[in-house]
């Protein structure tokens, strides 16, 4: 009972975080086409928005947010990550978003305090 309760309160909820990320990305680069001079701003804003929303959750978590924006040029991209943590409490979430001209991959790692 305690664990379950603690899980509810202090566990990484993937769906919730996924929604936060999606909103952040949509908000930042929603209908834009890839522009090299603006990509810097976009990545920063995505990360900041994500983080703000996550902290608003007021959960006892440490968050790590990464954002990758890649222009659609026909190249391939491959990333992988692995973590050594407490699987019960900690978790990660990766969202892959794309439009006609670019890919955006946002990863959030949440580590329970």
């Amino acid at each position: 009972m305690d664990d379950f309760q603690s899980g509810e309160e202090t566990a990484f909820v993937v769906d919730e975080v996924t929604n936060i990320i999606k909103e952040a990305v949509e908000g930042s680069i929603g209908g834009n086409a890839y522009q090299h001079n603006k990509v810097n701003q976009w990545t920063s804003s995505v990360v900041e928005q994500c983080l703000n929303q996550l902290t608003k959750l007021s959960k006892p978590f440490k968050y790590i947010v990464t954002c990758v924006i890649m222009q659609k040029n026909g190249a391939g991209l491959h990333t992988a990550s692995s973590c050594y943590w407490d699987n019960q409490t900690d978790g990660s979430c990766t969202v892959r978003w794309e439009n006609k001209t670019m890919y955006c991959i946002v990863s959030v790692f949440g580590l329970a305090i």
């Binding site: 692995s82 943590w85 407490d86 699987n87 900690d90 978790g91 892959r96």
Partner: protein
Amino acid sequence: MADRKAELERKKARLEQMRRERKEKELSKTRNVGDDSKTSVKSSGSDASGAEPDDILREFGISPAPEGSPATPKKAAAQSQAVKEVEVPTSVSHTTPRKVRLSVAKVNETSIPPRENVSYSKETQTIIADPVDKDARGPWDYYDDDNDLDFIENLEGSSSHAHQFRGHGHSHGHGHTHKMPHVEMVAPATTSEEQNKEHKKPVPELSEEEKKQILMSEGFQKFFDHSSRIVERALAEEVDIFADYSGKDSGGKDDEAMAGERLKVNRDFYDDKWSKHRIITSLDWSAQHPELLLSSYGSNEDATNVPDGVALIWNIKYKKDTPEYVFHCQSPVMSSCFAKFHPNLVLGGTYSGQIVLWDNRVNKRTPVQRTPLSASAHTHPVYCITVVGTQNAHNLISVSNDGKLCSWSLDMLSQPQDSMELQHKQSKSVAATCSSFLSGDANNFIVGSEECLVYSASRHGSKAGINEAYDAHQGPITAIDTHRVPGQIDFSPYFLSSSFDWTVKLWSIKEQKYLCSFEDNSDYVSDVQWSPTNPALFSSVDIMGRLDLWHLNHETEVPTASVVVDTNVALNKLRWHQTGHHIGVGDDMGRIYIYDVAENIANPKADEWSKFVRTLQEMKQQATEREEDSTLLGSAAPIR
């Protein structure tokens, strides 16, 4: 219940004590802080005495400040308390150790596949005329240390500057240790010719076998045969630039003065390889191509490896002096003729009795068809072959030396259609040496034999075989020729015969006795033939090299024109050209002479025929007188 309440109250009391203690501590701290703040405020207030609103503000600020100052410590205390309160529960929570189980999480992978580039490319390859230079360098090779030397050497052309560069190149090449583009003086420009020399690879040499193979291939042979003819003709052609059509040079054509011009050598045919030392055994002109002359040759006793029988076709139209076609077979060819109705076929009768057929369409020099050497065909030399009949119904008639006459179909030489023994009285075979069919007649013919007799014979009919014998010659008959000049008057019963008895005799088949004897020759007369165009003209050759032209309307005692070909040769055969303007004469050394007959003699005049009739009548008269003389001689004393 009471215990619990008591415990709770004790805990509360303890908590309150702890709180008070902390408060006191903090109050003491904050007082110090507050005094400091007061003093600072006052000092600041004393400084700014001038400004009233400032004073008021400060007073407000100060007034609330002292209020604040005691308040702030409170607040601070409260805050600290709050913090402490907060801290307390947290510290309380921290005091209980939390179990932390760490483990490796699942690997997160993100992958974006590359775009599949569908590309379409079409390449064309030009035909490489010259193979690519082996030493061609790519752009990356110049950075390679080892190749520096070769690169420099390639730059050099065949110019004299090359040697200087070699020296440079060596030093530079060895000096380079780092891979950098090699910078050097530019080589002098080489012309495209020199470059071509460099880059041209040697044409691959064919081995002997390959060359032979190509030479033997059928396509090459055909091409070579065809084109070599054309080239030969072209090379031999000479144009006479002095042709004068006004006839000034030649003067008036006078019969007497132009006696020497009546027979003039046009050219001669002789092939060193094929006709040397061979006796010419027969001549024949082609009916379809009047410029082609067929000549057959006997064996060459001097040479051993050459075939015994040779037949050559010569061309008088072109000046080339090699035969158009060369045919040979294994036995000496005794007689030959063009197949009259087949322009491509050449027939030859050989010493062995075999009749051979050559075809000039195939690229073969040997016969395409041969008659069998069996008793059904001939076993003796075939001295006479002729093609008689018409286009659709013709036969090859051959008479061999044993008196056998065979008729053949040209399609099938494997067996004769018909054969007949020519026998004269008491089954005595005729040793035929020559024959001639009557003009326009495929049935009746004249045969001359070695027994000095001339026979008339027929192939079919009730009188098949030998009919008449004409006895006058004292030597074997060498040639027979029947008259065949077409005209209003038909002289076909008349024929000529020549023999070893130095005479030529004119006969009519209706008469047992000859009409006229021409005895101007002083040696064997080897051949005689009527002119094909002039009814009163015939020609004869003898083995002293003499060619005679007899024009009976002019002279019957001596030849109208006579020319000696060469004292050393014996003329064996003669043949008039269809036009009557040329005579082909063959000797026993393999040489053929073509003589031009002067036109005033060769061409018959309008009254030639009637004159000839009169001539013949005169001859007849003389003949009868002769007969009477001889009978009288035989019987009684001569009339004087």
